[in-house]
Symmetry: C2
Subunit: 331 residues, 2 copies
Amino acid sequence: MDCCVIPLRHGGLSLVQTTDFFYPLVEDPYMMGRIACANVLSDLYAMGITECDNMLMLLSVSQKMNEKDRERVMPLMIEGFRDAAEEGGTSVTGGQTVVNPWIIVGGVASVVCQPNEFIMPDGAVPGDVLVLTKPLGTQVAVNAHQWLDQPERWNKIKLVVSKEEVKEAYQEAMFSMATLNRTAAGLMHKFQAHAATDVTGFGLLGHANNLAAQQKNDVAFVIHNLPIIAKMAAVSKACGKLFNLIQGTSAETSGGLLMCLPREQAAKFCSEMKSQRAATGGQGGAWIIGIVEKGDRRARIIDKPRIIEVPPRGREATSPATSPATSPNLA
Amino acid sequence: MDCCVIPLRHGGLSLVQTTDFFYPLVEDPYMMGRIACANVLSDLYAMGITECDNMLMLLSVSQKMNEKDRERVMPLMIEGFRDAAEEGGTSVTGGQTVVNPWIIVGGVASVVCQPNEFIMPDGAVPGDVLVLTKPLGTQVAVNAHQWLDQPERWNKIKLVVSKEEVKEAYQEAMFSMATLNRTAAGLMHKFQAHAATDVTGFGLLGHANNLAAQQKNDVAFVIHNLPIIAKMAAVSKACGKLFNLIQGTSAETSGGLLMCLPREQAAKFCSEMKSQRAATGGQGGAWIIGIVEKGDRRARIIDKPRIIEVPPRGREATSPATSPATSPNLA
């Protein structure tokens, strides 16, 4: 499970908690703070929980940074984290900071819930439809963007992608990672989701397998479609076995929710995701990517899945996650 | 405050949480795990909370360790952490591990409380007595022990302490840091403590000042006595301004609770601490170290405070915190 669920001594309530921390992967410290927060909260959202009672922030400041850089970068990272927490209807009270060779940013999200507030991720039934709420390819986009300055690496992918396309994919990945899965969590209740998880370090197939393994019923997940940030499928292919994005094992950060929905609800879920995102100035939505059938609690991607190229929102797009213009560079 | 206290949406309950993580400071990984856990829980205990609903463990594995060392060290550290959690009546469910240049160990402690389960640290009144539940000098002992192998450092303190005394002080510090403040937390209710905090990185005076600053009444704390692990006062003096143990600013790890007790309760508290510790095979107790008077919410140590030399429990002492004989060396 994405969270731990601890039954409490008080009237049927449960404490649901999760923690996550990791190293910066985008250059913009404000956005990095937002992504770290979205990534922590995502574990609650995967259980259909839309509220969070408290967040703690975990930070390590790099000993290698000079004081000036530290004083510019760390407050922006904290601001990004706090802003995302606020967007999630919660706030950051408490935490701990240490000095370390590397920057670390992460947190803890905790909520005390009644039983009807969360959805245990074990109720998929044959006939359900698999839905994914963010495009794949964040790791590929982040890496390709770093290669813009590394001619040897760049030469391997320049036949399949332009510099402009990489920059747009990177922006799209950054905004996507910073987007909370909260809307999706709320709609899980409305559309009676049977199970969900969030897609992160193990890639789509890794998390699909984990989710399948937890099901009460004898089910298997079959994935037909892969929504991927535009051009990143081609970049992954050009890199041989480095990412394996099409095979479903490329790591994602703060990825979307993968959920099992009743067949008759899936299309409505996707269209409401799209309209709710649009209403708050965001973009994207959700994609039907496969089906649940009778099986042995495993997941697979079919041979030659359909690649859905998800267009970037463009650099001019305004987003709730736009960073202050003064952000210094983390890299 | 040592914890954050978040009012919940459910019937008067509060979520009380704290987090802490840091770098190893003793060589024994099992004991390091215990100390890290005791240190996290200590923030709850400082609020008179004796229960903990869940702990998360935060770990970073050192990239500089070879795989063999890693596989010996990390499981022992985790075992120590879990054992201390179990002693605290709680368990570890969840957490996160990353690879990092340095080892990090820490955790998150969370509990959902009714209002009568915790004591807000702001009720000291003139006439109260200050009590401390563990001796000072852990940092001095840990450093002096490292200097056994550094002749240049050792030469500076060898006139005031023997190698045997340093080894005993180090053992005492290690056992003391690994001891939970849970007994003290329970007795805070029985003896009507008015406020408490735990003594860690800012040293006794730093935390006394923080506690004084939070008080509702116009009070000041005056400290007359300093219980210190035997010989460590002399070592600190021999080191000039390096530690400032007598001045109250030497850092402690997983130190005792500093609390304000009604005058008529303090002696009874100390004697019950001692007998409860003895009953569970432990040692030590509590010391009256000063008084609360009318004042401007600050703390001070008098000129020439009385040093109480706390004898080490000896290397043969059995302790609930004894580590497995096979522990490899962390340093």
